[in-house]
């Protein structure tokens, strides 16, 4: 008898070996795609969107690449998801996590072909991951106590992170920028407080960090262009026509003169409001919403600088830096906290005018102005800087630091190899495979740099058999070098997140023995 159909028409079902094959192939394809971006000599990718305008992005950031891909393979989707999470959690290592998970699956594929059950592989991987994590946490350097040293650690991390990005030419400059910005946050991880302004023009070297705050707005007409010892009121209030908020209220009049009267009353109301605001004794007023011409004129008359339409983030940051509160009512001027700064002036960046607040009270927020030749360069620079800032802010919280350049992978691989030798049973194959997957990362870094990876990795492995070795791949000179001397460091938190989420994802994909794809939802064709 014919086998009964259970699933819907377009749904498909893949079982056992075929399902496993499908997920391996998908995952490895994704890995191969982003593999070439890994390391300081990694290449970039051009992404062209299918949407309107066919916008082009040039990037080296794993998460950005993967986010823009349209993937149908479910296993590949898992990898994209871990890269996204890595981006949200620690900000960097988005490529590494995908590559490691892919390599783990590649090794697992071989083991499965050698008739080792996926469950055995998983338990081996688990043991190996645990062992690798312990190996790392034993070798960390923690310079929490020593502020001077810690700062140099941060510099090293920033340099390492940036060296694989477009900013690598000016990494010294940008590393300094990023470290300064993060140190100002004083341990908070709220990167919102760091504003990045992109202005095309000039070169990347012209980018700078501003201690104060730059608001990308113009000063209202006829108002002072420069204020010293400013008292700033940051507000979120309607400065157009102040609507009556009581529901259902409307104006109904029977003659033109009445309209004029009410208009007069409305004007009067606005004037009162402006008076109240001015009564706070301020000379700068920043509002999130629009300021209409009439109140603006009133402010100008009073010699108060009025800035309209600052976006919400801008307002929050401004409130942060100046120490004022965001006000919406103005009836008790004595209790509203007013922000202060030494100097407000209009400055020119490139060809555009911006408002610059300097000498602010609370140094928590700051602004980084990026300059560069084109929008693509600036976008990529922003992403790179964002990565660096994320890593640094996470490192400030978890101050443990590791060496970079393939050093952590080699340390882990060595420990995991030891474990494999001690473990009886089939699991040891899986543990060995784990160590091979770890070694794949320095291999890829070397390959991407056009070096003889087989030779280098072998040398590295030999070097690591000595105790307390600091050897890693020095991509610049193309040899094995001392990472501590070269000042290449990475954050422990990032490495740990890479290791754990890659293992988790690989395990998840390995456990699958059947893929059921439902029929795609029918979409109305809009054509």
């Amino acid at each position: 008898m014919a086998i009964e159909k259970i699933l819907k028409d377009d749904a498909s079902e893949e079982k056992g070996e075929r399902a496993r094959m499908a997920s391996f192939v998908g995952a490895i394809a994704i890995t191969d795609l982003v593999k070439t971006t890994l390391g300081p000599k990694g290449m970039d990718k051009i992404l062209q969107s299918t949407g309107r305008g066919h916008g082009v992005t040039v990037t080296n950031d794993g998460a950005t690449i993967l986010k823009s891909l349209h993937i149908d393979n479910p296993a590949a989707k898992v990898l994209i998801d871990i890269s996204k999470v890595q981006d949200d959690e620690v900000g960097d290592g988005t490529t590494s996590v995908v590559v490691l998970a892919g390599e783990l699956l590649r090794e697992a594929e071989k083991l499965v072909a050698a008739k080792i059950h996926p469950m055995t592989i998983i338990s081996g991987y688990r043991m190996a991951a645990e062992c690798a994590r312990n190996a790392l946490s034993q070798r960390v350097v923690d310079n929490k106590e020593n502020a001077e040293k810690f700062k140099s650690d941060l510099m090293k991390i920033a340099r390492t992170t940036l060296s694989s990005k477009i900013l690598s030419q000016d990494k010294e400059h940008f590393a300094q920028l990023a470290v300064d910005a993060v140190m100002r946050l004083k341990g908070s991880t709220n990167l919102e407080a760091i504003q990045i302004i992109k202005k095309p023009g000039g070169s990347l070297m012209d980018s700078f960090l501003d201690e104060g705050f730059i608001l990308d707005k113009k000063i209202g007409l006829g108002q002072p262009k420069r204020i010293e010892n400013a008292k700033i009121l940051v507000a979120n209030t309607a400065m157009d026509t102040d609507k009556v908020k009581i529901y259902g209220a409307r104006v109904r009049v029977d003659s033109m003169s009445k309209v004029a009267e009410i208009e007069g009353a409305e004007k009067e109301k606005m004037r009162e409001k402006v008076q109240k605001i001015i009564a706070h004794g301020i000379n700068c007023f920043v509002n999130r919403q629009l300021i209409y011409n009439f109140p603006e004129e009133l402010f100008a008359d009073a010699g108060v600088l009025a800035i309209e339409h600052a976006d919400f983030d801008g307002i929050e940051r401004l409130a942060l830096v100046t120490g004022g509160e965001i006000a919406s009512t103005f009836d008790n001027p004595e209790s509203v906290k007013i922000g202060h700064c030494k100097l407000i002036e209009e400055i020119m960046i490139g060809e555009d005018k911006s408002i610059h607040f300097s000498g602010v009270e609370m140094g928590q927020a700051c602004t980084i102005v990026l300059r560069g030749a084109s929008h693509h360069v600036l976008d990529e620079a922003e992403r790179s800087l964002h990565d660096a800032l994320c890593v640094l802010s996470q490192t400030v919280n978890d101050t443990r630091v590791l060496l970079g350049g393939g050093w952590p992978e080699m340390v882990m691989a060595k420990e995991v190899d030891e474990l494999a030798r001690k473990t009886p049973g089939k699991k040891s194959h899986a543990i060995e495979a784990f160590s091979r997957a770890l070694v794949a990362i320095p291999t890829i870094i070397a390959d991407n740099a056009g070096l003889d990876s087989a030779d280098l990795v072998a040398q590295l492995r030999a070097a690591h058999h000595k105790e307390g070795c600091n050897a890693g791949i020095d991509v610049i000179s193309g040899s094995v070098g001392d990472m501590a001397e070269l000042g290449i460091s990475e954050s422990f938190k990032v490495k740990q997140a890479v290791l754990l989420s890659a293992t988790e994802a690989a395990e998840m994909i390995l456990r699958v023995d059947e893929i059921i794809t439902c029929a795609p939802r029918q979409r109305e064709d809009r054509m």
Binding site: K5, I6, E89, T189, C390, E504
Partner: protein
């Protein structure tokens, strides 16, 4: 086809548009149904047990779910066949009733159908088979009661509960840290359980997940988490000994439900209206402050002015809190949900020892923790994990564990797992079969064989020789008259499930057998399938 002839020999049609319908009847129909049921069972068979594999499901919108939970697999499978839908229904009802064993019940039903097919081939009438199954299931359920053990636990001795939850969790992807998760589940259930009435309201346990971190960071919070932040960025992030006003009215001017119009036609009216409006905001905030609230949680939004006034009076507030969360907060803090500002009184405020805002990761993700509540009966399990699928799967696993713990509190009888209960039932049913006169004897014996299929699948998934292992365990059970021998899935070295601490709940097992039998009976009784053709 259903073609009949009238007295003159002319054919007439009974079914509407019958040439467009396909029809199966008699033994054909039964066989088709059985094979559909078996096909569903076959999909789930490999997910059974601690070494069971997962399934990857891609939804119509392209979202990926990876799971091991039978009910979830079937639910998302987008099944078209009617009989297969019955099986889906079956696993769902096990999920609603018991919460665990959703895979087992389908595998059991599949095995029963397979056995029935053999019997049908030998010419036994389906009703006789159904009756035989019914008898056998009764014997099995009674036998289960016989071999079940009661065990004692209390608020201090939670070990047995933890062990049972661990058995449930060990088949899931989270088995890496099953111990902590099992402890979390048991503690959560115990803290909301009413031990006197032996009842647990699982609605009081909220399971929240957030991607990031690792599975080990999963924690139990004696309080509530809300995925919201303070309405004003400069409000305090931490409040000690909070008195919480829980509001369902917005900080906005009232909107009367009857249609009305306020006409403004004079300047005076305009001004009075304006003053009223200002006063209104002021009153609202003052009212909250007057009753002594130190935190306002509101279901609706705030007007900018109100927001600033709150900030100004140093009254932190949270807006847009969902209805369910609001209720949980009310339960946890012992407060009352207040629909109108006028009704706010000090007694209606909820109390919590600590309210704090916590931020995650590099994006601006914030959550509000409400802890040390006056009434600690509402708890939250907060799951962390490497990716979205992991979190979803952990949520499902925790749900299973919670259900198991609840069932144990309702009825503290357990049977041993690892297939031992099934083997023992199978022996008992087999023995009973011989005593039974009549054709049903065959059906009862077939039932015993079907019971064997669960341990067989367990052994198969664990990479053991299924038939060899099963027969060895069975003979051991009979020889030593000890129903605790099962399949040693984890290769621990002993077959005695009592030593391995593998338990399952008695009601879960009983329900499995009863539900599976019922569905199989239903399928067997169908002898005619009429379905519209595809075109």
């Amino acid at each position: 086809m259903a073609l009949a002839f009238d007295e003159y020999g002319r054919p007439f049609i009974i079914l509407k548009e019958q040439d467009q319908k396909t029809r199966l009847r008699g033994i054909e129909a039964q066989k088709a149904n059985i094979s559909a049921g078996k096909a569903v069972a076959r999909i789930l068979r490999t997910s059974l047990g601690p070494k069971g594999m997962d399934k990857m499901l891609q939804s119509p919108d392209g979202d990926v779910t990876i799971t091991n939970d039978g009910a979830t697999i079937l639910e998302q499978m987008d099944v078209d066949n009617q009989i297969a839908k019955l099986m889906v229904e079956l696993s769902r009802s096990q999920d609603y009733e018991i919460g665990d064993g959703t895979t087992g019940v389908v595998v059991m039903a599949g095995a029963l159908l397979e056995q029935a097919e053999h019997l049908l081939e030998r010419g036994i009438h389906p009703i006789r088979i159904a009756e035989g199954y019914e008898m056998a299931s009764r014997i099995a359920v009674e036998h289960l009661e016989h071999i079940a053990q009661k065990f004692d636990f209390g608020p201090t001795n939670i070990e047995p509960l933890v062990q049972t939850c661990m058995t449930t969790l060990s088949s899931k992807i989270v088995n890496r840290c099953k111990r902590p998760l099992a402890e979390i589940s048991v503690k959560a259930v115990l803290s909301v359980a009413d031990l006197e009435r032996k009842d647990v309201n699982l609605d009081l346990i909220k399971v929240e997940g957030k991607v990031g971190g690792k599975l080990e960071d999963t924690e139990l919070i004696y309080g509530i988490t809300v995925d919201k932040d303070m309405s004003h960025p400069q409000m305090p992030k931490q409040i000690q000994d909070a008195k919480i006003a829980i509001l369902t009215c917005p900080f906005e001017p009232p909107k009367p439900k009857t249609k009305h119009k306020v006409d403004i036609d004079t300047v005076e009216k305009f001004q009075t209206l304006r003053q009223q409006e200002q006063k209104y905001f002021d009153d609202m905030v003052q009212k909250c402050k007057d009753v002594g609230a130190t935190l306002v949680i509101c279901q609706w939004g705030f007007d900018d002015e109100a927001n600033h006034l709150l900030m100004h009076r140093n009254l932190p507030a949270v807006r847009w809190v969902g209805g369910v969360e609001l209720e949980l907060i009310a339960i946890a803090t012992g407060g009352r949900i207040v629909p109108r500002f006028q009704e706010l009184t000090p007694e209606k405020l909820g109390r919590a020892g600590l309210v704090r805002e916590k931020s995650f990761g590099t994006t601006k993700d914030k959550m509000l923790y409400i802890e040390h509540c006056a009434n600690s009966r509402a708890v939250t399990i907060f799951i962390r994990g490497g990716n979205k699928m992991m979190i979803e799967e952990t949520k499902r696993s925790i749900h299973d564990a919670l259900c198991v713990a609840r069932n144990l509190i309702r009825n503290n009888s357990i049977v041993y797992g690892g297939g031992s209960a099934e083997i023992s039932c199978s022996i008992a049913v087999e023995a009973a079969a011989d005593k039974h006169p009549g054709v049903e004897q065959y059906a009862i014996r077939a039932f015993a064989d079907a019971l064997d299929s669960v341990p067989m699948a367990l052994a198969e998934n664990s990479g053991l020789q299924p038939i060899e292992t099963l027969s060895a365990v069975k003979s051991q059970q009979i020889k030593e008259n000890n129903p605790h021998f099962g399949i040693d899935c984890n290769d621990v070295g002993t077959n005695d499930m009592r030593e391995q601490n593998v338990f399952e709940t008695l009601i879960g097992k009983q329900q499995q057998i009863l539900l599976a039998t019922q569905v199989v009976k239903m399928i067997l009784k169908i002898d005619d399938v009429i379905s519209p053709s595809d075109f």
